[in-house]
Amino acid sequence: MPNILTRLSEWTNARRKLVWLMLFVLVVAVVAIVLTPVFLIMPFKAQTPRIMEVSYLMRRWSPLLTIIASLLILTLTIGLWMAGRWWSRIVLAILLLPVLGAAWLARQNHFEWMFNPLPNAAYAKAAEVTFVNNDDRVMAVRIGGESVAYPIRLMGYHHLVGDTVGGVPIVATY
């Protein structure tokens, strides 16, 4: 450790500038890989197969890439922190915020914030139902003698409901 610190204090200005540049590029890249698919696959926008593929790849790899990039950024930050004055330390601290935010967002499913899943679906007997009107529409399934109705007003809110009907695992979608 002591000899690393000495080495850091010996950084030249040119070297320091290069490290700052790397840091900025990494921060922008981390934020971009997480936010790009959010914007590309927004509701009410047109998507092409290419857009979907790029979004998939970014969503697929961003959890891992944001961790690797965060470690690199942290290393660079420590170096600049040691060698830096108070004002550059403030800039370094501010730069860490979007990085941590991106690493967190890469692990979230913001579509489940917008469209509300129903993980523990419950059911009532047809004869005892009070929450559906006669003219409400339902999606009706019958498998192996078992019948289930999924009211469309509920499906229009939750969109996906997993179930097992007549022994067959299914997903009801709307």
Partner: protein, 241 residues
């Protein structure tokens, strides 16, 4: 609606995105992205695989309950119901006025948010505007070389489609005019044998009593969305009124 078993493994799906206003589902097990409307895996380890469709109807609750009194019904999430966040009874009408994003390839034969009943038989697909069926039920038609029939229930909103052949014989259908005994629902009669049929496609009286028509899956969809996934679709033309 899809079966969730692929290669002997049960997948669990979540919403993971939107592709031209149609949901993308992601399975927890492999991370593959699936198009909800087609059941096709678009990206990921299972790319190219197709989920098996589960046959289902869209019916009014009254008709479903009459046909399936022993069935079970999905319950609302109490927390969400308490916050009054579920869709109101008229929400379909409001969605019908929402905007539509269209690419360069626009098919102007119908307005984008026209509700159509999409029927697919073999390679052929055909869109029946819902209001055509509400004006004239049953619709007796052909999709490609297959004789089909679309019927709306006594609520004028529930819809079923059938292949209208029995033992290779094509049948013409009419709605019985002295109709819908309050409990039994609407009745159809076929011109060839005079048998009486119910809304489930079962013959309940006459020479064909006990026979059943093959049900066809009906996808109720907006025209623009149906057209994206069925680019070669034809449209039923009700003709001059």
């Amino acid at each position: 609606m899809w079966e969730t078993t692929v290669d002997g493994r049960v997948l669990h799906f979540r919403l993971a995105g939107i592709n031209n206003q149609n949901f993308i589902m992601r399975d927890d097990e492999t991370g593959t992205w699936w198009q909800q409307v087609t059941g096709l895996a678009l990206h990921g380890p299972l790319k190219g695989r197709q989920l098996k469709a589960v046959f289902h109807d869209e019916l009014s609750f009254a008709i479903w309950k009459r046909e399936q009194p022993q069935g079970r019904v999905l319950k609302p999430d109490e927390r969400i119901a308490a916050q009054n966040k579920y869709e109101a009874a008229d929400w379909e009408m409001r969605v019908g006025r929402m905007r539509v994003v269209e690419g360069a390839d626009v098919d102007k034969r119908l307005a984008p948010r026209t509700l159509v009943l999409g029927v697919e038989v073999g390679e052929k697909s055909k869109a029946y505007p819902l209001d055509a069926l509400q004006k004239q039920s049953p619709i007796v038609d052909m999709v490609g070389s297959v004789p089909v029939m679309l019927v709306s229930g006594e609520d004028r909103r529930s819809v079923r489609a059938f292949e209208r052949t029995v033992d290779g014989r094509k049948l013409e259908f009419f709605q019985k005019t002295e109709n819908a005994s309050a409990s039994g629902g609407l009745q159809l009669i076929d011109a060839e044998t005079g048998s009486t049929w119910n809304f489930e496609g079962k013959a309940i009286a006459g020479p064909l009593a006990g026979r059943e028509l093959k049900k066809l899956f009906v996808l109720e969809d907006y025209w623009f969305d149906w057209r994206i996934y069925h680019p070669d679709t034809s449209i039923y033309d009700i003709g001059p009124q």
